[in-house]
């Protein structure tokens, strides 16, 4: 699925360029920028990629590791 992810000023919503191949209608989800997460979309994507490593998937995601949530 194609997606556009950008952090923009609240008043700049009209400036988002949507490719024609998205079709006549698009689904819009608007979220506030997390206060501590001022990372660019690219950085977010890279973080996402690291989440896909085998070690994250097999070890860090294991629910037995949730003991650290309240650290």
């Amino acid at each position: 699925m194609q997606a556009i992810r950008q952090i923009i000023a609240r008043t700049d919503i009209a400036l988002v360029r949507i490719p024609e191949e998205f079709g006549e209608q698009v689904e819009v989800i608007i979220l506030p920028v997390a206060s501590k997460s001022a990372l660019s979309a690219e950085s977010q994507s890279l973080l996402g990629l690291q989440e896909q490593t085998g070690f994250v998937a097999d070890v860090l995601t294991d629910e037995r590791e949730d003991v650290w949530n309240e650290l």
């Binding site: 973080l47 037995r64 650290l71």
Partner: protein
């Protein structure tokens, strides 16, 4: 530690892109943030997650549950993903983790850079057939990096470990590392000149029986000191001293015998040892080309009063530059240690003081009473110590020595079998009766009357990419360094050095080192045979 981040355990947002902030995982920061705010992290998990041999247990008490970290799984994450600081790890723990990461990268470097070169398939005529070479794997490289990270540099823990393990391997009480095989010979000989040996000490003008067919630094220390080498001819089959001439070489001035086990083949130790015992002579075994060889079930180098080894790359094992001196004699041990370490009387290890507990409370010579023992000199010594990095490589090589020895024997056997039909052309080396040589090389000596010269066959082999070597100096007494010496005064020759001259003129050797495979040996056999066939 002055670092703000490095060595700190942080609570990290998990999953990294989760906006809900419902979960978290701990991780150790291994770097400071770079220009982009990125930090290298090693994650910490419960011990239930232990899946790799590379994990390190987190010191007890730092975290609420037993945990370990995974230095083989490094993540580069932005500092904004940090939720909070938990604690700081001890410096020694951080050191272990950072060292592990460095060593894992070193292993990878070996696998990508060195291993492919070492495992390259043999292509006849194209691949170089070296006479010798270093054979190693990632362990040598990791030990070297490990000791470099410690940055102790001089004689240290690796050196001590190596000395102990070498002594254990040889079955001897004392082994000392030095910076080369030639230094080992120098130290071994000079130890015999110590006044502590009283009437048995070698004095200037005293004689030392040896051979001229060998490496110069077996003889050099004798001449440098002002003693007189007495050269005896060698036996063409074993390449070693002709023991039937020992009695003729003896004089009232004879104090010692100093001989190498030529190309790994032990000399007739029993005959030489009996001769030494009969005449109260010291015996130095130059074992530089023979580590791993045995005589009557016991390692060469351990039969005489002192043995020496070389760890230069072509030798039976290597540490780059390096050598060793070994003995069972407690007094010689004391002298060797003193002469290796500047001639000092003190035996404190590097960085330590007052091991004897009498540093300022003894009388030495005519010095003022209580003169600092650390700077009292009982010999005119040297500094022949190795670096700890060399010893670190040596420790890894020692583990491989028995395997190396077997390969040398096997390669020698294959060469000998392959050249079996050429007995009318070459004199082949024969193991000394009662010995089990770890051959350093395979020496071929042209028989009288063959239709080609040594240099002609050597050139043919070199062009075919087969490296050859003469038997070192051939006849050392014919070298320019002897020009200024006077026979009968500075050195003596017993009888004639007829076989020595024959070797000088007609011998060469090729390698049998453990880095050579079957294909290389067969190629050498083919090239030697084809040359002989076309020359007949």
């Amino acid at each position: 530690m002055n670092s703000k981040y490095t060595g700190t355990i942080f609570k990290i947002l998990f999953p990294f892109t989760d906006q809900n902030r419902s979960k978290a995982r701990p991780a150790i920061a291994l770097t400071e943030p770079d220009a982009y705010g990125d930090i290298a992290f090693a994650f910490i998990t419960t011990k239930q997650a232990r899946q790799s041999e590379h994990v390190f247990d987190i010191p007890e008490g730092l975290l609420p549950v037993p945990a370990c970290t995974h230095p083989d799984k490094i993540f580069r994450l932005n500092k904004q993903i940090i939720l909070k600081k938990i604690c700081q790890v001890p410096l020694d723990f951080l050191e272990s983790v950072l060292k592990k990461i460095t060593l894992l990268n070193t292993q990878r470097y070996y696998a990508e850079i060195h291993q492919p070169a070492l495992c390259r398939p043999f292509i006849p005529g194209t691949s170089r057939v070296n006479y010798a070479g270093r054979v190693f794997d990632e362990t040598e490289l990791c030990n070297l990096v490990d000791s470099s990270l410690e940055f102790w540099l001089t004689y240290g823990r690796w050196s001590k470990e190596f000395e102990k393990r070498l002594a254990d391997f040889l079955g001897i009480r004392y082994a000392f590392l030095v910076n080369s095989g030639s230094s080992a010979n120098l130290l071994a000989f000079m130890a015999l000149t110590s006044p502590l040996l009283k009437e048995r000490a070698v004095r200037r003008g005293d004689e030392v029986i040896t051979v001229a067919a060998g490496f110069p630094t077996t003889v050099a220390p004798i001449i440098q000191y002002g003693a007189v080498p007495v050269f005896v001819d060698v036996d063409l089959a074993t390449l070693n001293i002709d023991v039937s001439q020992l009695d003729a070489a003896l004089s009232p001035k004879t104090k010692a015998v100093m001989l190498a086990h030529t190309l790994g083949n032990p000399f007739d130790i029993e005959a030489v040892k009996n001769f030494c015992d009969r005449h109260d002579l010291w015996l130095i075994e130059d074992n530089c080309d023979a580590l791993g060889s045995k005589y009557k079930g016991r390692y060469t180098g351990t039969w005489g009063d002192i043995g020496t080894s070389s760890f230069y790359p072509p030798h039976h094992m290597t540490m780059g530059e390096g050598g060793a001196v070994y003995t069972d004699n407690k007094l010689l041990k004391k002298i060797i240690l003193s002469m290796r370490d500047w001639g000092r009387d003190c035996w404190c290890e590097s960085g330590k003081d007052n091991t004897c507990k009498n540093r300022f409370s003894r009388q030495y010579g005519t010095l003022p009473f209580g003169y600092d023992h650390k700077y009292v000199y009982s010999h005119f010594g040297y500094n022949l110590k190795p670096s700890d990095m060399q010893a670190a490589i040596g420790c890894a090589q020692l583990d491989k020595l028995e395997r190396f020895t077997e390969r040398r024997k096997e390669n020698f056997r294959m060469l000998r079998e392959g050249l079996a039909g050429l007995d009318d052309i070459f004199h082949f080396p024969q193991a000394t009766p009662g010995s089990d040589p770890s051959w350093f090389g395979f020496l071929l000596t042209l028989k009288d009357g063959v239709p080609f010269t040594r240099n002609e066959i050597v050139e043919h082999l070199e062009v075919a990419n087969i490296q050859t070597r003469n038997l070192f100096a051939g006849n050392i007494t014919r070298h320019p360094c002897f020009t200024e010496l006077e026979q009968g005064k500075d050195f003596r020759i017993t009888g004639e050095l007829r076989v020595t001259d024959k070797i000088m003129k007609d011998s060469f050797w090729v390698g049998v080192y453990p880095g050579m495979g079957y294909e290389a040996i067969q190629y050498m056999v083919e090239m030697i045979k084809s040359f002989v066939k076309h020359s007949r």
